[in-house]
């Protein structure tokens, strides 16, 4: 059965390693923070200027001066720090962030990514995404594999304006986990109960099934 968004986040949380500084994008990526494996130390950065983000505040304790990049009220953990936007992107551009998780509208098989604009229709802007994908060495895309009109978002080629080129390393969707390899999308894990046929139908780009393919595990 296809995963829900929270379970996608849970699977991505398995990629967290002790000592990682992590930037989570808006949407599914934000949910990753709820699934940090016990016993490892992680610090979450939000590019608007905080390292060491905590949970949402208790009701009545919201502070207008304390938000994340999704404009949500947040709290901080012990050891947190605030800094300005130039310093924040020094962390990102300077490769000090160990893992970046972000959403996408389209990912083609060469590892490009598009997530900020639909010409003539919708322009939200790239926010910090272009800086993140241009510099991060460890980028995971978290998204639904199929859009609302039933079309695959894992493509041969992007049709939308790009956010970055040849930067995506791994993709986690409701159907599977993919790595970008020279030949295309390498399926390394499938969601419990989802058939390879379903995955193939939902992948417009070249799909290669790994010799070590396994079912996602959430033990």
């Amino acid at each position: 059965m296809a995963l829900d968004k929270d379970t996608i986040a849970k699977r991505i949380a398995q990629e967290l390693k002790n000592g990682f500084y992590v930037n989570l994008g808006i949407g599914i990526p934000t949910l990753v923070a709820n699934h940090v494996p016990p016993g490892i130390a992680i610090e979450f950065q939000s590019e608007n200027g905080v390292m060491g983000m905590g949970q949402f505040p208790f009701e009545g304790e919201e502070d207008a001066d304390l938000i994340n990049a999704g404009k949500q009220t947040i709290t901080t953990m012990p050891g947190a720090s605030f800094f300005d936007s130039a310093v924040s992107f020094s962390m990102i551009r300077g490769k000090h962030i160990d893992l970046t998780v972000l959403g996408a509208m389209e990912v083609p098989e060469n590892g490009n990514i598009a997530n900020w604009k639909i010409p003539g229709k919708m322009v939200k802007g790239m926010g910090g995404a272009m800086d993140l994908v241009a510099s991060a060495e460890n980028i995971i895309v978290a998204m639904m594999q199929v859009n609302k009109r039933g079309e695959s978002k894992l493509l041969k080629r992007c049709s939308l304006p790009l956010t970055g080129i040849k930067c995506v390393k791994k993709i986690v969707t409701e159907l599977g986990v993919y790595e970008i390899i020279p030949e295309g999308f390498l399926l390394v894990e499938y969601a419990p109960g989802v058939s390879i046929k379903t995955i193939k139908n939902a992948t417009e780009g070249t799909l290669i099934v790994s010799d070590n393919l396994k079912e996602m595990s959430f033990s």
Binding site: E47, D84, A86, F89, L162
Partner: protein, 232 residues
């Protein structure tokens, strides 16, 4: 001590004219110079170019200037929260230049720091790099970005002193520090204005040399855009 205090927002905004370029601090509605924005609406200056990370929401922040069609061109990184913005942009009424957030911050900081141009990897291979010089450093492509030019920088801080020294609070810091001294004249509105000597020199976020005019804002609404809470 060089005193930067002006008596109110009107005195602070003296010299702002139609067609000028303004740099405005804030991220979303957090840390925006709301007193100054309110006064700009009242003054009614038009054909502004605004450099700001976001464009406010329909009825707060820079959205107020958009409603009155005072903005000719917007330079921002993310404008997803503003329906009127999207309408004006898609209809062609509003000129829009979208730029990566880190590049936006660094172009402000470059203006403050007298760096005319720098290379960054952000935006390479995308439409952001179109028409710009690109260059390889250590096997990776970078794009040449230039310092922003602005007539005024308008920022919001938590505390300030008469000498123009500023301290920001939490994530309301964001773009405000990098914009100080980036425009020809920098205006700072603060929640609390204290006498020189009241702030610890070791804990100043922005030295007063980067600020030309400072005043205590009459009222701060500090609206929350996304009130998210957890249950006890």
């Amino acid at each position: 001590m060089i005193n930067k205090e002006v008596r109110n927002v009107a005195a602070a905004l003296e010299g702002v004219e139609d067609g000028m370029t303004l740099m405005l601090g804030g991220f979303g509605l957090c840390g925006i110079p709301e007193n100054s924005i309110g006064a700009l609406v009242e003054i009614g200056v038009k054909n502004l170019t605004c450099i700001s990370n976001n464009a406010g929401v329909d009825d707060f922040g820079l959205g107020l200037l958009l409603q009155k069609k005072q903005i000719k061109k917007m330079i921002a990184s993310y404008v997803g929260e503003n329906a009127e913005f999207e309408r004006q942009m898609l209809s062609g009424e509003l000129e829009v230049e979208l730029t990566p957030q880190g590049t936006l911050a660094e172009r402000c900081r470059a203006a403050q720091a007298g760096i005319p141009a720098f290379y960054t990897p952000a935006g390479c291979g995308t439409e952001v790099a179109e028409g710009k010089e690109t260059r390889e450093f250590k096997g990776k492509m970078h794009v040449l970005e230039t310092a922003y030019e602005a007539d005024f920088s308008i920022v919001k801080a938590w505390k300030g002193d008469e000498a123009g020294n500023l301290i920001f609070k939490g994530t309301a810091r964001n773009f405000n520090p990098a914009m100080c001294g980036a425009g020809k004249i920098t205006i700072a509105e603060v929640e609390e204005l204290v006498p020189a000597g009241s702030l610890d020199p070791n804990q100043i976020h922005i030295p007063g040399i980067f600020v030309n005019r400072i005043f205590q804002g009459a009222k701060f609404e500090k609206r929350i855009e996304q009130r998210t809470v957890r249950s006890k």
